[in-house]
């Protein structure tokens, strides 16, 4: 049994390296003249870093060994496609991935070493509100929503960090539920904070993120809230704010109209989504082959529409493969949550799994025109620094949650 297991762990790791090396070989044939030393060295060192990280993680972590493997596969598929679309962006993405893996290990160590994460709900709330205010003051407007802060040459999306802080707030609240319940208005603290966040997001006109926040909050509340009426109330409010968003904001209404019938607006508003559908249809089962399709016809193809580009050039089979990888990732997340004895980390693991699941569902659905399109990135696959870093932070936390943590079982064992 043990021997069997040892041989098997190597298998997916080697397949991953094989995939990456073949992609590199293809790149060599594709554009021999333009590859400089810097590109070559950084790509090879990235392959090496990914391999070593998978190897080291098996040694240092007693927890889950699959989530990092799955994520590195997703990253490899994504970066190959981004490099093919735009080689400068591809190089940037390679560097972001390297930083992301570093951040993953730092997060892993920090979260594991420092105790008492469940007691700092107020701190998380203050930092989040601070970031929201900073976004409103310093933020720049892109694609109809104010969600970027530009500092020097770098720009980042504070909401990516706030997502994780929100999960921490919810977890801290429900793991100290008994304490909060005794206070006056205690049961409404969490709701108050979440609705403040949602109000800020409405001010930023970032409605895709509102959807993510609301879904994570509702899902966790549905699992842990004892006052079931509160959940009904929140779902009602969710519907109302959806309708309000439709009537208040122009770009929501436009998105909705495009979703109903993109062909009517094919020459302007509906251009992006129709091109995406054409791309997926052109690809067929096995795709046109990397470098042989025209994913550059789709605007914003490297972030929101990376999935269509992958489907066009690598086939719908790869597309289904990506969805399956996300399925396994979310499944592992739920399993981690079930096995975790520490209540705080159990809720965090659930929250992060729901976050990955919802985020990928919204964008896959959007690109395939099953639900109205909202501009968010696919975690780990799309181009984007802040999204990559924050996804890796979330993954690092999930990795810690997958281990058996030293806690006094008396305090957290009850109410499980």
């Amino acid at each position: 049994m043990m021997l069997n297991k040892k041989v098997n762990y190597r298998m997916p790791r080697n397949l991953l390296v094989l995939f990456e090396l073949m992609a590199l070989l293809l790149l060599f044939i594709y554009d021999k003249e333009n590859i400089d030393k810097f590109t070559l060295i950084s790509v090879i060192s990235l392959i090496f870093i990914i391999y070593i990280s998978n190897f080291v993680l098996l040694r240092i972590s007693t927890g889950d060994n699959y989530i990092f493997l799955i994520v590195t596969m997703l990253i490899s598929i994504g970066v190959v496609m981004i490099y093919r679309i735009d080689s400068t962006l591809g190089m940037k993405q390679v560097i972001w991935i390297g930083m992301g893996i570093l951040v993953f290990f730092i997060t892993y160590l920090l979260i594991k070493r420092i105790k008492g994460w469940e007691n700092w709900a107020k701190l998380y709330a203050i930092i989040s509100i601070g970031l929201f205010i900073a976004t409103l003051i310093l933020g720049t407007k892109r694609k109809g929503s104010i969600n970027w802060i530009q500092i020097g040459r770098f720009s980042f999306q504070p909401t990516e960090i706030i997502k994780i802080l929100t999960i921490f707030i919810i977890s801290a609240y429900y793991s100290n539920y008994e304490k909060y319940k005794e206070k006056k208005y205690g049961p409404y603290y969490l709701m108050g904070i979440i609705y403040i966040f949602i109000a800020f997001l409405f001010l930023q006109r970032d409605l895709g993120t509102v959807l993510i926040f609301y879904s994570v909050f509702l899902a966790l509340q549905f699992i842990y809230e004892e006052n079931r009426k509160l959940i009904l109330f929140n779902i009602l409010l969710f519907v109302i704010s959806g309708i309000a968003g439709f009537f208040l904001f122009d770009h929501v209404r436009v998105r909705f109209e495009i979703w109903i019938d993109p062909w009517k607006y094919i020459d302007n508003k509906g251009y992006q989504i129709t091109q995406s559908l054409f791309a997926i249809a052109t690809g067929g089962f096995f795709g046109t082959g990397i470098g042989l399709g025209h994913p550059d016809f789709i605007p914003e193809v490297h972030t929101d529409f990376i999935f269509s580009a992958i489907c066009e050039e690598m086939g719908i089979f790869t597309g289904i493969g990506i969805i399956m990888l996300f399925l396994i990732l979310v499944y592992r997340g739920f399993k981690i949550a079930i096995n975790q004895k520490d209540k705080f980390f159990r809720i965090v693991a659930l929250g992060i799994s729901i976050l990955f699941g919802i985020q990928s569902f919204i964008i896959f659905g959007g690109v395939l025109k099953m639900i109205p399109l909202t501009g968010i990135t696919i975690p780990f696959v799309s181009y984007g620094g802040s999204s990559m870093i924050s996804s890796f932070i979330a993954l690092g936390i999930l990795q810690v949650a997958s281990e058996e943590l030293d806690v006094e079982e008396k305090r957290y064992g009850e109410g499980t």
């Binding site: 049994m1 043990m2 021997l3 069997n4 297991k5 040892k6 098997n8 762990y9 298998m11 997916p12 397949l15 991953l16 094989l18 995939f19 073949m22 992609a23 293809l26 044939i29 594709y30 007693t62 699959y66 493997l69 799955i70 596969m73 598929i77 096995f286 795709g287 046109t288 082959g289 990397i290 470098g291 042989l292 050039e313 690598m314 086939g315 089979f317 790869t318 493969g321 399956m324 990888l325 396994i328 592992r332 281990e403 058996e404 030293d406």
Partner: protein, 145 residues
């Protein structure tokens, strides 16, 4: 030239991705099987007593006992424990007519059953504590009661 390569590679990429997914699903399947059947079944198994994360090497919570099983540091054992205090071939557990017998294979640090170092072949009884190196196992045989 490039087109031909690209056309071939797209099939290979899809095959690799699906083999990757399948191998992970297989690993997860083994993982789940390892947890569910051996903890709930009325089978015979060794259960780890130590906290899993207190040991600096890989060890599982449950080891099922079927037929003949050897334990040691070497890779040719059925139960491999990379503990420096465990010999390459440390001990052997043999099934004979429903009973299980433990035999130490001349290990340098010895095998302890319920605190006593064993010299000869010992018949295992439900609830026996077996200590090898830094690891302690509980022998569970529900059929014996």
């Amino acid at each position: 030239m490039y087109n031909i390569f690209s056309l071939i590679f797209k099939y290979i990429f899809i095959i690799i991705i699906y083999m990757f997914i399948l191998s992970i699903i297989r690993l997860i399947y083994l993982d789940i099987k390892g947890i569910d059947t051996y903890s709930k079944d009325n089978g015979v198994y060794l259960k780890l007593v130590n906290r899993k994360d207190s040991l600096p090497f890989k060890v599982k919570e449950y080891y099922p006992l079927v037929g003949q099983i050897t334990l040691g540091r070497g890779n040719d054992n059925q139960i491999i424990l990379k503990d420096p205090y465990i010999s390459k071939k440390h001990l052997k557990i043999v099934e004979d007519e429903g009973k299980f017998y433990l035999e130490d294979l001349n290990s340098s640090n010895g095998t302890y059953v319920n605190g006593e170092r064993i010299m000869d072949v010992v018949e295992l009884k439900n609830g026996d504590r077996i200590r090898v190196g830094q690891v302690e196992f509980l022998y569970v045989n529900r059929e014996q009661g």
